[in-house]
Amino acid sequence: MSTGYRSPSFLRDSWRIARKDLRIEFRTRSGFLSASVFALLSVAIFRFSWDPTAVRSLDLAPGVLWVIFTFSGLLGLNRSFGVEHADRAMDALLASPVSREAIFAGKALGNLVFVLGVQALALPTVALFFGLPLGPGWLAVVAVAVLAAIGLVAVGTLFSAIASNTRLAEMLLPMLALPFFVPVLIPAAQATAAMLAERPLADAVPWLKILGAFDIVFVAACTVAFPFTLEE
């Protein structure tokens, strides 16, 4: 029956959906701009309210960094299903051979690029404003940022799908997602602090293990759970 057609492919379909979302984001730019501006403003505000004599920058900066990542990430995640619901484009996707898991993976991948993009702006800004030392620890910090972004995006994309069924989607998303972000936020901040202070890597390893386990468990769980968020 599908001789004249190509079979659906998870990788190809999710990549196409991610590319489509990124293309839309690139054309409209409003989501990325507001998330980035939010991040940079927050860094500035935290910097202003910081008393360097009371707290060392290395003690404060990791927490600031991760709080900003989380909230600017949430800003970005809110838009991910908005574009599908606006003109019910999602209905067309659901009526096509594309699998529900591929839809989730595509959306999550697009969100991941978005979140990493905001992180790429926020990280250097925090380093600059808080006068953080630029040492070899930074490569490890970037790795932590990527690991944490994966966890944030998996959970955030799923809850974005859930919240988009309600009228208060923008308010409900943070409420649903934040408790789930705790096992990402705290390990990431702790690991970042250890790396910036150039403590031995062994200090950061237990935190990285939690992050890694969270990513594996929740990427799988959210992919499996996503089809249940769709009406059927």
Binding site: L158, F180, V182, I186, F218
Partner: protein, 238 residues
């Protein structure tokens, strides 16, 4: 799987709720009895003093609110996604609300106990912190249900949240334990379980039984209330 969903047949009339639910009344009496026993008849722990008695309320509430309620929510949610039986959703709903109350009790009693043991109403102690985040999760579960109108959507989406919440619990525990391990506070933080003398042990066991009875009685009443509400809606809109 057949295309017909297996749904509890809604009764043709709204079931009348009894004026007095004997299980609930009985369990309330049991709880009052245990509290009286704890206050008047059980010796206080020598080291921790009178406030330690709050342990008889705090620990059973923690076990029921944190472990039992959340497990029930998650299992009923998972089963609902598989079987699509509305009754499972009612159990999950009841469990969430009752669990929320018990979790609040855990936080309040933990705080009071903490004030007397540690001098502060709050500290990042593992069980208390886990209870706090679980409290937030159950709250968001209830808010989500409230934000959805269609009963099928409500049941389905909150079931997803319930299952994911159960997956979250071990991660919260791990994170908090690791955090505590690296940041010990100067005072001894873990409210040590008092070494239980036989009378304390028996009061403790009685407390567990009494609170469990109360927990299940409350869920049963809440479930019946939900069934009556659903039946009334069915009649109005049939």
């Amino acid at each position: 799987m057949t295309t017909a969903s297996r749904v509890a047949p809604t009764p043709s009339a709204v079931p009348a709720l009894p004026a007095v639910d004997w299980l609930l009344a009985g369990s309330l009496l049991a709880v009052v009895g245990v509290v009286v026993r704890a206050l008047l008849y059980t010796p206080a722990d020598a080291a921790l003093g009178d406030v330690q008695r709050i342990f008889y309320v705090h620990v059973p509430s923690a076990i029921l609110g944190m472990y039992v309620a959340c497990t029930v929510m998650a299992i009923c949610g998972g089963l609902y996604l598989w079987l699509k039986d509305q009754r499972l959703d009612r159990i999950a709903e009841a469990s969430a609300e009752v669990g929320f109350v018990f979790l609040t009790v855990v936080l309040v009693t933990g705080s009071i106990w903490g004030k007397s043991s540690w001098g502060t109403y709050w500290a990042w102690e593992p069980r208390l912190t886990s209870a706090l985040f679980l409290w937030f999760v159950v709250l968001s579960y209830l808010v989500l249900r409230d934000a959805l109108e269609n009963p099928e959507t409500k049941a389905r989406l909150s079931a997803v949240l319930g299952v994911l919440a159960l997956l979250l619990v071990p991660f919260i525990h791990m994170t908090v334990y690791l955090f505590r391990g690296l940041h010990p506070e100067p005072i001894v933080l873990k409210p040590s379980k008092p070494s239980l003398s036989p009378e304390m042990l028996s009061t403790f066991l009685l407390a567990i039984v009494a609170f469990s009875l109360l927990f299940f009685a409350l869920i049963r009443v809440r479930y019946q209330w939900a069934a009556a509400r659903d039946a009334r809606l069915a009649l109005e809109q049939a």
